[in-house]
Symmetry: D2
Subunit: 369 residues, 4 copies
């Protein structure tokens, strides 16, 4: 049987991998067992956020020092900037180990699958080919973890984007891309990936997932995925998280789909399903100690309204809407969970309903890091 572990480490600066280094040195983590790392760094989370590069490079160097090449084939490293509000810079490390433990009969535990798609051509990014490619990768990751679609709680995708290199390569081949510049490719690549997940999980009717709907029809969405754009290779990296009786251990995961940014009821539901029911206003401190990771993906409503009330996020020309979003969600999620290690990310095309988003919580009853 396999057993999944989720570790969380806070970071004192963008390249701070010292806590992970200590865990590796103490053999609390096996570098060869790492299948994913999700990092929230302290930059602006926008175009010119170099803290992402610092964290990524530091991780790759640390793993190389431990004899592990951090290739996408082996693991997904997802680094996202923006610690607005009360967010603490931190990283979450996902580990899958072989376990002598047979598991308790009928008891389910966190299961993790990892897969990477075949390389795409630049002109496929953001198209139905891309949707299909992501779908197949999710299906492979589910198969790897022996997870059925309805056992999947959350899918994290690292999507390719059309960086300058790919833009120029396509131009030299005389090929027309779906988006004209690197930055503009992010929404459509995220959209295609999210629809791919939704198809793999059976959340969207295949007949409706057509080219014209990509990043255009907000009624199509997955309730259980987050997509981050930023892969320089034209591949889709997929981490699938579910609950399975075929995995052992004490780690757990549950997701929620928020109808809007204040849908804290959905967050409480996920906490309850992961074994951490909120008795009063917030998780008790003993419960908080079991929380290993909290992920949220969402966007401010484009229409500028929340429950009918005017919102200013998209109209603040000095502070980007997504910086507002990350700050406010650190408050909403922090209110429920009591933790500030909250991974909030924006760019939620087909991920949750418009103006809402998707949420996942990982917990473990055993002593953590």
């Amino acid at each position: 049987m396999q057993r999944a572990h989720v570790h969380s480490f806070s970071m004192a600066h963008p390249a701070d991998v010292s806590a992970l280094a200590a865990a590796l040195a103490a053999r609390r983590i096996d570098p060869r067992a790492i299948v994913g790392v999700i990092v929230k760094t302290e930059g602006n989370g926008l175009d010119n956020d170099w803290t992402r590069v610092m964290a990524f490079d530091a991780l790759v160097r640390l793993l190389a020092d431990h004899g592990v090449e951090a290739s996408p084939q082996r693991m997904s490293i997802i680094v996202s900037g923006g610690c607005e509000g009360v967010t603490t810079p931190h990283m979450v490390v996902f580990e899958c180990r072989d376990s002598p433990d047979a598991g308790a009969a009928g008891r389910r535990a966190l299961a993790i699958g990892h897969a990477i798609s075949e390389p795409m051509l630049p002109e496929q990014v953001g198209t139905m080919d891309h949707v299909a490619s992501t779908r197949r990768a999710v299906e492979r990751a589910m198969a790897q973890a022996s997870l059925a679609p309805d056992e999947v709680e959350y899918v994290q995708v690292k999507a390719p984007w059309l960086s300058e290199v790919h833009q120029q390569a396509a131009q030299s081949r005389g090929v027309r891309l779906k988006t004209a510049d690197a930055h503009a490719s992010k929404p459509s690549t995220r959209a295609a990936c999210a629809l791919g997940v939704a198809l793999a999980l059976g959340e969207v009717e295949p007949a409706r997932a057509v080219d014209a709907a990509i990043n255009a029809d907000p009624s199509l969405f997955t309730r259980r995925a987050a997509v981050t754009a930023g892969n320089d290779t034209l591949q889709n990296e997929v981490l699938v998280f579910g609950m399975s009786a075929r995995w052992s251990g004490t780690a757990r995961v549950a997701h929620a789909c928020l109808d809007d940014l204040l849908d804290v009821g959905a967050i409480h539901d996920a906490l309850r399903r992961v074994g951490l029911p909120v008795a009063g206003a917030q998780l008790a401190s003993t419960q908080q100690q079991q929380v290993r990771a909290v992920l949220f993906k969402g966007d401010p409503a484009r229409a500028g309204l929340l429950r009918g009330e005017r919102q200013l996020m998209w109209h603040d020309s000095d502070v980007h809407a997504l910086r507002h979003l990350r700050a406010v969600m650190s408050g909403v999620i922090g209110a429920a969970t009591g933790t500030t290690r909250v991974f909030v990310s924006a760019g939620a095309e087909h991920q949750g309903p418009a103006g809402g988003g998707t949420f996942a919580v990982f917990a473990d009853g055993s002593p953590g890091d």
Copy 2:
């Protein structure tokens, strides 16, 4: 008997007083009964936020059109900018009317007292004279509303600041002020006012409230007040809110003191005390309709830690710490209450413990505006 009413209106732009104008035109509000207006506008809430001026001027003009001079003697108009996160620009209007209603025996209702201090000299601002002046004004406002100190739930103070005019006047008189420039006078004027409230409410031992403690000893604080600096006259305007059996009506108020920015338990307590217990994760929609106003005053912890975790707010040179704070608290308070008409303000010297803040909620079971 007197009866207090609390009205809330959203604003479509910084000078939008149309909803209040409609209420005045329909005689739902008596302009002569208004004792306070608290406005949250959509600017940056910092030095160069002109939306405050727009709102203030629009209010003064509207009231003048209805034959009422909006003098500090008659009412306090407190305008604060910063609708970060999910905050909706809005205004809260406090009205005190004579009521034929005798009140139900033993039933308490919202009571409001308003007072303004004698003018101070510039050199008194931020000193123990200032503390004493504010204390006397709070005592007068309590007396006016027939409120005992322990019946007071919240005090809102509009503090004077040493604008350029006062700086120059003092200089020409050869007088040395406690702070060297206009902007720097805000923390010390807020601090002096907050200590004045704390003394009036019996929250701080008089022997400890000495000159050296003003804006220096964070262990001294009121749990029931918010101070906003911005009064161009050298007076302290005070609004005292309490619950009294000597007032009639259905309006209610309750306060909370937050230990830190994620102390949502304190918020739930205040909601319960105002008659709106949170059954699940958030107020039910019928409860939300009773909420008339939500006020919060607090600051990010100077030490840059929240529950031991690193915070970035004070280290973001592109987005001011107070903009982060307002965004995150719109999320924390919105999570509990479900409303986006949240008045969050920073600059909380001696108002709540360091890194925490004070909170008040106003509710009314009768149909609102």
Copy 3:
């Protein structure tokens, strides 16, 4: 004969019209002779800049107090925000008076024409109809001022934009607009106006000014115009400035077209042509006193290069590119002229070459305000 006067007033705050008020009170300016006011206010110059509204409303109120309705038929009031860098908030007032002075034979003076186009339909905005409408308005303004195209130095256009009201009106009529939202209409409305000016001045071959070229072909541009979007009525307001022997007085104007943001040679040329040759590094102080207004319109090069060197303006997610642009051009123009009353505005579609811009300087040898 007519005589033009150009007045410049600095502003102590966004609604500060006190200097103009004093000039009106002292009858140094005839309110009925005002044909244009160009204002630079201290907001962020972007979406949520309310200082523009404050200045506009204050001007309209002041003129109303002097019995003049500030209608677009009578005058163009152009308010633009953004005093980045060393820019001083200020306003420029253009006045055309009847003059008993016959003018010196052959001596040319500043001539000003003002015209407003017929109202357009929302669906015409940004189309060739819009181009033609602007062209006709420029021609009428030239005729009014008895200016031939080659006598025109600069044209300032206040372009309509498709605000929410027009968006909704069009939608209810089932009409498809050229741009999907209010904000996105600004580039295309500016582009259409600029091409209209270019045609009126004979700067662009009519055969090349086709619908597909609007905001798409940067090789088509006027060297002598600036367009500001923001007119809520669907009309094009035009101010034409030229040098004419048919006008009297001492006021002068000259334009320049900058090849890139550091093309200070073009600025020196314009200064020389307006009678203020730069002897050393900068205008001498006696020359500086003759400068009445300095206008610049330009954009950072989209390609992110200036003279082959990498530029960061478009890649700074915390400070908008146009705020960078205004700051840097206050330095470039201030270096040459020595003045900080510089009106820098961005959004220069078809106004100067890509990465460059257009410039105008107004001077007057007589004692100014």
Copy 4:
């Protein structure tokens, strides 16, 4: 004889040392001859600018790869962020080689001296001890380069600052520091260094350089230095640049002292003195090719006025004053020189007059990099 070389390389990203790497690989630069590197990176140039760390680390690694430890004893590496306006990220490398060339009689060339002070105690930072320590280091650097005080054109100092480590060390020793926190130590450390330079160069009367004047008396200033805070060791690193007949080669340097931010006349003077007189509005392109480095150090005037006109830089709560400053000076200096590789830095205590600053230009007639 020694010969100084100045190299300039643009950077494609904050850790881009590829151009220097190529020069080292091609042996155009001798790594053992490098005495200073000055880098301008593309971050915000404020508290949370990590691009400085990226550049510094990349440089240190590159030099280590070439067998050179980048210790302060060997070289000063000064990295400053903020490419506002038209500034291009770039680095300047200073090299001192032994030269067989005897030099032309009487012909002066760029001379460079480098020195580092003895370590200070934390409590000395910002005091007269610090002033004296810097003075001695400057004197040693001058001696090393055989430069007399009046031959010195510019001094670049890398000053220590009281980072957290030093703050805590001092606290544990029970020692009181001159400033209470790390960030606040920067102005006083810069001030002490600048006064030290001024004394070494004979620019300030020793009797006036007293403790109470440090960062307090703006009438005391050097016209020929820039100080950057950021040295983690408590030492003062000094680079002295002068023109000397005892050095050979074609490299040259000249300084200027600007009276205010628009004092472009001073810049033209320095250009003329370095052999690049501005004939028209800007250096001709053949002259531009000789420019190797342009440095400016200055601050916006605290009083908020430039030539009597209101300035907004200090009143913009969304964009830091120093970001405005760097943008505007990239324009002023770019206007004169035509280059965008401009190193603008703020924090100019006792460096040039208040509201002005100091400037240096390096040129070389020989073919550059």
